[in-house]
Amino acid sequence: MTAATQPNEYVADEPTILPGKAPLDQDWADVAKWGAIGASTMIFVVLSGMLTGLDSRLVIERVFSLGYLAVVWVPLTLGFLVAREEVLEGMASHAKGANEVVSGGIVGALSGAGLSLLILLMDSFDLRDPLVNWSDKTLGLLQFSEDSFFGIVMWAVIGLLLGAIGAGLHLLTPDMRRLVKIMVVTVLFVSVFETFLTDLFKGFGLVFITDFLYAARGGLTIISTIVLAIVAGLVAFFGKGRVKQAQTRINAGAVEGGGRTKANIAMFVIGGLLLVILPIFTGKITNELLANVGIFLLLALGLNIVVGLAGILDLGYVAFFAAGSYTTAILTSPNSPGWSPELPWWVALIVTIGVAALAGLLIGAPVIRMRGDYLAIVTLGFGEIIRLLFLSDWLSPWFGGAQGITNIPPADFGFFEVKGTDPRSVFYLVLALSAIAIYVSWRLERSRMGRAWMAIREDESVAEAMGINTVNVKLMAFVVGAVLASFAGAVFSAKVGSVFPSSFLILVSIIILVVVIVGGMGNIPGVIVGAVVLIGVLGGPKQPGLLQEFSEYKLLIYGALLIFMMLTKPEGLVPNARRTRELHQDEFLQDAWLRKQVDEDEEASEAELGDGPTAGAPA
């Protein structure tokens, strides 16, 4: 009823377009700034070893390696960024032309010159000692196996061209730009995910496609690159607007009533079926990946309740993962050093849930009275304390110290056995548990408890003044989070077959938090996307992802991604509507005002205020 009654027909005016600026009418300080950023980024990427380390991995056969890709995206992106113009709604903008191309080109050339400078320096000095990648191999790659002069000139030229191309993208019509984007992304996607796609296509018996696409030594062949680009272009060209149309149809259905929910349920069922059927065809690599994604999804869903809903920044979340893993290990493994009842896995799971809930209460009780930063620091400490307890000699008669607990049997359900050597079975188990976790999150968010969590996140003092027992309610969030983490721990034990304190580093907490933040805090689809993108593509703390080549730079990429997201899209990839409002309050209010959703009487009352000032002092 709400969607229908809202006046929503706001249409923006046609924007005014001013003539383009003269080619040399530049904001030179800005151009220099972006150039310096580009140059330092490129030097950093080369010295961090990506150029050399990823050189053997080919994107396009003989022509282009992943190492070079890690470098050349910089001038292209910066060229695009520097030529961009922020246009506010209803404001005039400049026509794009030579001016933009010139600024993009200069920024690109300056970035490239960074590498020219690096070649010069590498030629003259030897800094091998602190900088491992200050090597002949790097220099050779930088110079394209020619002499240094060639390399110096080439990088400036490459930078210039790529910067100009990046800026030139603004000259294309939006449709053309979209087409180019789709073509490039498709080629890169197919090339970078070679292992995964090969594995996938093999499962479906489509080996001839991968045989055609990829060269024997890896990478796309030149012909397949061209074919792929053309096919992607054609699909994009003829498919244009179809997705939009479908979306509009679904949304239109929603207005008429019930259509949206029906469409959602249908999508959910189809997605679920796909997830059940897909692993039958996919190979071991993909299934292993999916199993890892699932374990981290469970963890992220739990942390999402704590951080995303209740707003408690818990940096020691790994403690509950560890508690779950160790409890399951002790209860099921015959090698458990202290006490080994050798229970079946599902019985152990029930006990584990109880133990995790207890751990949540015990750790939560002293911590929960604190707020904000203090709470974050204390939880960080507790996370480490738990790991050190498992590691300690004092408790090693029960937990095995650094040797951990080994020989954990597979989870046996009678008709179905879940073991690490069969990642498909792990995936099914994790899928079932994730479904439970999603259901729990979804139900709790729309309950008395969920509303109390949100109120605490918004303003804890007021929530308390409104009759919410903040200590109990926050503790409840902690306990629910701990129980979901223990699910993940129980699966982890059965999958890996052994637990060691070193599996529960602080890094795990941080990575789960990054998954939640990047995906979209407080939003279940966001958390799922976050887990798939980060754990699936980049990999977990110790688990490889799709981009195995990047595993050495995983933490670097995690960090860079986190900073990037915080700066540009703090609400995450799939944002929660509330959180977006919180972080973009001004824009949101402006939009609401433009759509006339904000109170009309606000302006009226402001106007009336001028008439008579309210009486203040007594007569």
């Binding site: 949100m454 003092s461 027992n469 009487d601």
Partner: protein, 269 residues
Amino acid sequence: MSRLLEIEDLSVTFGGLHALNNLNFHVDEGEIVSVIGPNGAGKTTFFNLISGMVNPSAGDIRFKGDSIVGFDPNQVTALGIARTFQNVRLFANMTILENVMVSQHCRTKQGLFGALFQTPGFKKEEVEIREHAEKVLGFFGSRLVGYRLEQPASVLSYANRRRLEIARAMATKPELILLDEPVAGMNPKESAELTGLIGRLRSEWGFTVVMIEHDMNVVRDVSDRVVCLDHGEPIAAGSFEEVSTNPEVVEAYLGRPIEKSRETDGAAT
């Protein structure tokens, strides 16, 4: 009429500052009492003490005969004292409906189990919470209901935010409601309307009201009794006419006439 709230020799100090000093005060059931006084007189501190957000240094606060000193804010609210805030503090990113639903927390009891298994008890309670929320919002006419229910509190105008704050306090099902400057920032028309509503809080909902207010028109129209605070001490109490003509009150607001202040200064030295 029975005593609803009794305050005895209440003092609170922040460092060396006596924010309230030996305050004695009482509210009878069904009264509307206004607390006035210049800025910094300790009015909001007085509310913070009653609602448990600040603990007194000395003295006693009794609600329906039992001391509530040392109670947490949520316990005080559960006993039946609700409040609003001077600088409107809504849950800005929750919807208007949710703002009012969440403040019924202490009157409801369904926990995790009910929510997870969607027990009949849970569903029934959710319906009741929602019905009560809509009833409370309906008190303010059409402003906070209809399509507004699902909008975030942050899109409301200033006056409507104040109204929502009152609605949120009403939804906790209190006996005593503390309003901290309910009409601040409203125009005369809105103030007059809200004055009427404050009267109806007593007549229709049976709330006892204690209100901090600077707008003397509102104070005059609605209060049974007025108490004036200055520097943490009550300087006058009684009907509006008595208090507003009390020379000490006028002095607290407007200062002393020049000649008189010279006289007293001279006498002091």
